[in-house]
């Protein structure tokens, strides 16, 4: 298992390298110049040229890339053109907000999608199955942006139940420790801060979880249907085991590989796909940061964020691989 782990980690190096090169070249090939976008409208041509020099943009692209690469090895992605702060520091400031949102969304999706899929599969073609399948289809095909706006209009606007955006009410929570507001509030036993943070989390977490919930429901249902038609399930039923034991102990165990795959892939997608949700809900995470970076052609920031997203995806996939082995003893990672 260790050798597998080392092989996988070593294997990620060329992937990250290729992605960094691709992103770097693509960014420089794209029209638009950071100096034009970030230096004020009233600046002189000399001011713009000066900024280009300061940011190294007067150097050939390959020289710029080489400098970036050398620094990136020591996790120094350079300084953001827009914010003039180290890119890594900016990412670390915002990452907890995104991760917190993605985790809550994933928990919601698991708690709703998997049970719905299981119950739907255990009563195929019943009204419950049809309704759940319709709900699942709705969730999978629902555009995030539209749903976010609708929830803001209805839940925040019409019923005035939850805030329409932001992450916390100013001055309510204690000073952060980890940057995860919910966790910090629990550590500090700040229940008012916890409630305040939760209130802001609900709508974006629901929006972010809807696609994953739908997908999980549908995948769980189809996996379970396949497993429930196996001979050993028939044997279990013939032995007189209760339907609860058949479904939850015997069938679910064999359907969980598919569930792990979907959760793993979708979790990675949630983190990278939170850009729209963060933007609509003014959620101060790395999705918004990326959007700002792209608008400003902030090359170091965009490249740094893409590398972080890539690494996260790889890490999540690696964890999924290990979970496969834990879930199914027939899978040998060392092989």
């Amino acid at each position: 298992m260790l050798s597998y782990f080392i092989r996988r980690v070593v294997g990620t190096v060329p992937v990250i390298f290729m992605i960094s090169l691709f992103v770097f070249l693509l960014l420089h090939a794209a029209p638009g110049d950071p100096a034009d976008l970030l230096i004020p409208d009233q600046a002189s041509a000399e001011d713009i040229a000066d900024a280009r020099r300061r940011w190294g943009l007067d150097q050939p692209v390959l020289v710029q890339y080489w400098r970036f690469l050398v620094s990136a090895v020591s996790l120094d992605f350079g300084r953001s053109f827009k914010y003039d702060e180290p890119v890594l520091a900016l990412i670390m400031q915002r990452f907890p907000a995104t991760l917190e949102l993605a985790l809550i969304a994933t928990v919601l999706a698991i708690m709703i999608g998997i049970p719905l899929g299981i119950f739907a599969s255990s009563r195929p073609n019943s009204w419950f199955d049809n309704a759940s399948s319709l709900g699942g289809f709705f969730g999978v095909s629902m555009p995030n942006f539209w749903m976010a706006i609708m929830l803001i209009l209805i839940v925040s606007g019409y019923f005035n139940l939850l805030p329409s955006g932001g992450r916390a009410t100013f001055g309510v929570a204690e000073d952060p420790i980890t940057g995860f507001l919910i966790l910090d509030s629990i550590i500090q036993q700040d229940w008012v801060g916890l409630a305040d943070g939760a209130k802001f989390l609900v709508l974006p977490a629901i929006v972010l979880s809807v696609n994953m919930t739908g997908l999980l429901m549908r995948m769980t249902r189809s996996s379970m249907l396949e497993v429930l038609s196996e001979d050993y399930i028939m044997t279990a039923r013939a032995k007189g085991l209760s339907e609860r034991v058949v479904v939850w102990r015997h069938a679910l165990k064999n359907a969980r590989i598919m569930v792990i795959t979907v959760v793993g892939l979708e979790f990675g997608a949630l983190i990278s796909g939170s850009i729209i949700v963060e933007s609509v809900f003014s959620w101060p995470g790395i999705g918004q940061l990326l959007l700002q970076g792209i608008t400003a052609r902030d090359y170091p920031l965009i490249t740094g964020l893409v590398l972080v997203y890539t690494t996260l995806f790889i890490v999540v996939n690696l964890i999924v691989d290990f979970l496969y082995a834990a879930a199914d003893p027939r899978i040998r990672l060392g092989g």
């Binding site: 034009d36 708690m111 209009l153 305040d196 939760a198 989390l201 609900v202």
Partner: protein, 516 residues
């Protein structure tokens, strides 16, 4: 366990989060509301805690009311005022002498001395993070013969220098000497009516009232939070459900929602942003004045304002409008909607069968920009232009404009109070490649107005330049937007024409104050 029990269990998680959030947070906000607080939703970025590292109007306005700037434009008085200087004079055309008020103090009691201004100008010029060099580019030397006198020398006569100096944020030299760059974060001590409490970059900024400051009144809110909310739908919803009290830039389609509510209303203000169509004479067919004028006659601006801007615009007859320096209500020539004349001008220019043009529109940068440009296309085609409408992403378009590669485009120029810099930037030979217009008379008038310190003569020169620019039509001036700001009923607020949100312009109504 059955579906009846498990599914409600899952949904209960959401319910618990929401309900728990609601109950506990109600008491949380009750606690937070002990002091009067106004939250304003803004659309620009908050990119840094360094007051020199940003150049967006939101941050200039915030720093101006916290740190303070050397001078400020007063729309009420129609001239510059200063919280720091008693007077200023020009012994010669390249020297500015400021006599500072006696006993100036920051909010922590620290004195404000002439050396602070030198320090501040130096930071605007040389700070590693500065994005404000352009404000001080003409300054070549500074002297402080005593603690109350500041002498600034410029490389050439710059009559509109006060406009530049209004953007110089005055920070403390003593704090910087003590703390270095950390002073911006750890000791943002200023002399304004509000003090910075916290800045969360690209998220929010909180400031608190300085109770004993001479500019503040008891009605001004104790705290003001600027929250970045880029989505107009979110801003309006937050305004209507009481999360915020001021919402900037309500687009026309959402104005009726606010107007129809019982908790907020719309306040209108003519913004000092000029919207125009630029036509670069470097590119054919825009090298012919008749073609440029044909565009001016072909477009029915009143109809566009009425229909697409829902009346939220004031037509510009010339580069600037009322309230802006050197505005002339009788400026000539004037372009009225006249398609027949436009067709005739195209013929005169040698295009009797029309001419093909590319028209570049911004998307989502200005109010209804794409829709406006789409509506302009048939107007132009009706007089003989064959229009290819292009809608590149802003970064691409702006880079091309900056390089002079965009022949015909819709654009805005913001924060124009004294139009000298804007006119020079777009219409003076060699100043920028954005239009590449060149006219000796305009150049001479603009140069002369910059060197003319007599206000009457300067206004006359500027009006002459504006008249020639309007006649030559390298740009067709469209309108200034009437900006809609949503304001909750428990506060009274009217933004400045620059759309700045100043704490001292916000008043809590009596019932809101009673929560104190």
């Amino acid at each position: 366990m059955s579906a009846r029990t498990l599914t409600p269990l899952a949904t209960a998680v959401i319910g618990a989060l929401a309900a728990g959030g609601l109950t506990l947070a109600t008491s949380a906000s009750a606690q937070a509301q002990q002091r009067t607080r106004v939250t304003a939703a803004v659309t620009e970025t908050i990119a840094s805690v360094n007051p020199y590292a940003d150049s967006v109007s939101l941050m200039y306005a915030i720093y101006s009311q916290t740190y303070g700037s050397l001078v400020d434009w007063s729309f009420e008085k129609g001239g510059y005022i200063s919280r720091f200087a008693d007077s200023w004079s020009n012994p010669d055309k390249t020297t500015w002498v400021f006599k500072l008020k006696p006993g100036l103090k920051r909010n922590n009691g620290e004195p404000v001395v002439a050396a602070d201004f030198v320090h501040s100008i130096n930071r605007a010029m040389n700070d590693p993070q500065t994005k404000q060099k352009h404000n001080v580019r003409w300054i070549v030397a500074m002297e402080t013969p005593d603690e109350r006198t500041l002498i600034i020398k410029t490389s050439e006569p710059v009559a509109p220098m006060l406009e530049n100096l209004s953007r110089v944020i005055v920070t403390s030299k003593a704090q910087f000497d003590k703390l270095g760059a950390a002073a911006d974060k750890d000791a943002p001590v200023g002399a304004g009516p509000y003090a910075i409490k916290q800045i969360a970059v690209d998220n929010f900024l909180a400031m608190t009232k300085v109770p004993d400051h001479p500019d503040v009144k008891p009605e001004n809110p104790d705290e003001i939070i600027f929250r970045i909310m880029k989505e107009p739908e979110s801003r309006v919803t937050a305004l209507l459900n009481g999360e915020i009290q001021i919402a900037q830039f309500i687009p026309p389609q959402l104005v009726p929602r606010v107007q129809g509510s019982s908790v907020a209303s719309i306040v209108w203000e003519d913004a000092v942003e000029l919207m125009f169509l630029a036509m670069s004479p470097e590119h054919k067919p825009w090298d012919k004045k008749e073609v440029r004028q044909a565009v001016a006659y072909a477009i029915d601006r009143d109809a566009l304002i009425k229909v697409l801007l829902a009346g939220q615009g004031t037509r510009l007859d010339g580069p600037i409008g009322p309230g802006q320096f050197a505005y002339d209500k009788d400026l000539q020539p004037r372009y009225t909607y006249n398609p027949a004349k436009a067709r005739e001008l195209l013929k005169q220019a040698g295009y009797p069968n029309g001419v093909e043009i590319d028209f570049y529109a911004t998307v989502g940068r200005y109010i209804a920009d794409k829709q406006i440009c789409e509506a302009i296309v048939p107007m132009l085609e009706a007089v003989g232009f064959k229009v290819n409408l292009k809608t590149p992403e802003w970064g691409t378009m702006w880079a091309n404009v900056q390089k002079g590669g965009t022949p015909f485009y819709y654009m805005g120029r913001g924060s124009v109070i004294d139009p000298s810099a804007a006119l020079s930037q777009y219409f003076e030979t060699g100043q920028s490649p954005r239009i590449k217009f060149s006219n000796k008379e305009v150049d001479a008038a603009l140069r002369a107005e910059r060197e003319e310190f007599d206000e009457g003569k300067r206004i006359a020169l500027m009006r002459r330049a504006m008249s020639v620019i309007t006649e030559e039509a390298p740009a067709h001036f469209m309108w200034r937007h009437k900006m809609a700001t949503g304001v909750a009923n428990n506060v009274v607020f009217k933004p400045q024409p620059t759309m700045d949100i100043n704490g001292i312009d916000i008043m809590m109504k009596p019932r809101a104050r009673a929560t104190k």
